[in-house]
Amino acid sequence: MNPLLTQFITEAGDLVESADENLLKLERNPHDDDLINALFRAVHTIKGAAGLFDIPAFIRLVHAGEDLLVAARDHRLLLDPAVTDLLLEAMDRIRDWLAALGETERLPDDAFEIGRTLADKLRAFIPPENGPTSAIASDAPGPGSDQIGWLIRIGEEQLLAAFSAAVAENGGSLLAVSYVPDPQCFFNGEDPLHLVGMVPDILALHVGANGDWLPSDLIDPYTCNLVFTLVCRAARAEVEHLFRYVPDQVMIVPLSLDALILPRGRADGGPVVDDFAVTAARLCDRNDQAGLVQAAEALLGLIDPGLYTASIVRWITAVARVSAVAKPGLAGVLAELVRSLAEHRPFDVNRSRSGTMPGLPPSAVSHHHTGFVAPTVDPLFLRILQEQRNILGLPCASPELAGRIASVGRTVACLFASTGQDEALAEVAAASDSALLIRSVQPLAQTLDAMIAVHTPSVAPAAVEVLAAAIAEGVTREHGPTRTLRVDRSKIDLLMNLIGELVVAKNSLPFLARRAEEVHGSREMAREIKDQFAVVDRLAQEMQNAIMQVRMLPVAQMFQRFPRLVRDLARKLGKQVDLVLEGENTEADKNVIEGLGDPLVHLIRNSLDHGIEPSDERIAAGKPATGTIRLAACQEGDCVVIEISDDGRGIDPQHMKAKALEKRMVDVEKAATLTDDEAVQLIFMPGFSTAAAITDVSGRGVGMDVVRTAVEREGGRLTLNSRCGLGTTCRLYLPLSMAVTRVMMVETAGQLFGVPMEVIAETVRVPFTALRRIKAAETTVLRGSIIPVLRLRRLLGLPDDDRERDSEAVMVVRLSNQMVGVVIDQFREGIDIILKPLDGVVGNLSGYAGTAILGDGRILLVLNMREIL
């Protein structure tokens, strides 16, 4: 497979994981900007990387998600559970697609359709970018003129022509596109002119230099220095698709018809224009478009075409020509054009949209007030401010006026004091003083208006700018020192095996030293070999530790999938559950972590489904309505312990006994003698599933025995404690690392066998007198409890021991919480070995876990006690 694609799949997979995690955190804390930013960056990076491959459905979906997150980031959208569900669904889809890409290098056939549906659903949540929409801007939201300031690069004739064409042919949304190709783009094989040529239905186009041209002898023919600006009538998705490889160089903004009206020219007026303004206003009122066109054309003959007013008059002509036939909303635009002429001020398309603007014009507001910079906006802050302003607006008898002004002034002052905005505080105080002085709410009301304007979250900055910022962020981040290295796992395994061999090879040096001394009689040589051995031994140990560290991963990797699982299941079951994670930084071998995922899922499902009660039941039992599941990891000795506990209803031992009897797993006598704790352990018996109804979540007959088997396969063990009504706790004990196994060597019938250290509970010498024979079975009493005693010689079919002795060496092993004594000939030392499983002809032999090579070259058979007993 293409190595780039491989890398993309791994990286995108990680990013999806982190996005998932952040989404869940966000659900608890929807106002955390850092989380939203992190989420946005993850999705944005996926999108950027996906652009390298031909996977349009994928890009489209991620893009929709990204747009949604931009809206969330700008506080235009709150990530409520419905949106989160959808985003999670999108993440799942992306994960599926990544898997498909990994297998077949292409997306599934239905990807396009699914991607589109999902992207549309996502987009449906995105609020329009601008609040007020004009009557004519029904096709598309009209962005503020600041967003498309670059549109002015297009000449007026072209815009006039585009305007007429857009009115004449109704349909298709208008888009403004600004495309500044990268100066080095020719080296990437790009041809910007050709790209622009593929944009459908271009109504207006401008191609210009990005800055000045250099003198002819300095021009570099391979540096692109062009800017393309165009207005076209096309579906946004289509244009975005065209420019999909250069998203950071292009701005695509939906345009309302009236946004094309960009008068320009020298500011100058004169009496002629004033006369015309009066006439035009009259004609406008009478709705006499023909007369208006006539008058305007007459005026154009008289004035300098380079003036701003001339430009306005040209637009009046254009709009008047079409406003009768076209959309009625244009009448407002026409009126505003005429008004701006009469009032000697620039044309402001926003005024025509909202009709008459009450209160202060927006420009005056921002001008009036520049005293302070708004901090991050708290919605509550804004609401209080707005409420106080409304109070000022209420009609009020004059005696109460002073009191009201003072009270509003105080409230607002407190508000600003609470956020530490001293400048604003002073300003409010001054305004309320002057309001009291002139006995009018006016000064205070104006100040409040201005402050509300400053604090209101600004209508989304151009999405593209946000993108650009994010890209810049991404770039700086990526340029930091790389701290991780991705290595193929098989390489690590190889290294691991080699080090294992080295350890074994090293162990032969002491034997060599002994030979040097005994066979060759050179004591000095032997000592030197031992010295060298010490050095090699230390290095080998260090290497072994280092490679272990490489394989160690924090359990957080395994834990991170659970918040999602718990959330989904809890929603499905209609329960309220909190998942508490602890000790995520505990490290364990990668294999262990990977092998544990499924058993843990099963345990958590059990806790959710059977353990945690529905809220009403919990309240009735005097517990908090929300249940808690705790997932904790810690290190105990050479084990990693993972504990899953819940505060649910626990396991009822009586119920367990009844169930076991019903399923004929135990007989009546046995059931009667079972302690509560033993009854609870019945849950581990194969085929034991107590759920009354098989649910979607658990209870499919795959019981706890499967979990236990899986854990034991990883070399771990599992314990379960439950207190009826109070909850259940499961503890998983796992070896820190499985690469090196510590075994105890035991000698039996002249042979050496290894027994894994983790199954050995203790080693004792039992006098013959303490061995009791009950029929054929031997037992002994060890610290007050009876344990069965077996003989390894018999288990392995070796001849009985006929040596003279008065006691037996007994190795007590722990198997599934049961103690068994095993009689052996002699204990030897414990050693670290690299366990090699049996394969080939001897692969089917049961009773042996594998083999290991000892330092002197002998082969040690390692017993699997579970199978032997």
């Binding site: 020719f186 002119l193 040529g197 401008h206 002819s216 023919p221 391979y222 692109c224 220095n225 062009l226």
Partner: protein, 97 residues
């Protein structure tokens, strides 16, 4: 050769790719009054287009491709030193097309 250089005039033929840019600029620099003929040009790479816009050679005839035609007339209009009459003509033709 997609660009034929004949004395003062360069003739652009069919697809003119980015590789021509270096030769073209050398040629432009060497001419006092360069003229170009784009009538038979079907594809003009941005690099060449940019040189035409920046160095303003006299354009004898515009290409038939409507988009190239539009771009060239548009760009020429913005950098119009001595080509006013060509421009006004092309704009009116552009309107018709």
């Amino acid at each position: 050769m997609p660009i034929l250089y004949g004395g003062e005039i360069a003739q652009f033929l069919d697809v003119c790719a980015v590789d021509e840019a270096l030769d073209f600029i050398e040629w432009l620099r060497g001419q006092s009054r360069p003229k170009i003929d784009l009538e038979s040009c079907t594809h003009l790479h941005t690099a060449l287009f940019q040189l035409i816009v920046a160095m303003q050679p006299e354009i004898n005839s515009l290409p038939g491709n409507p988009f190239l035609f539009r771009c060239l007339s548009e760009a020429a209009r913005i950098y119009p030193p001595a080509q006013k009459c060509l421009v006004s003509e092309s704009v009116s033709r552009g309107g018709d097309s």
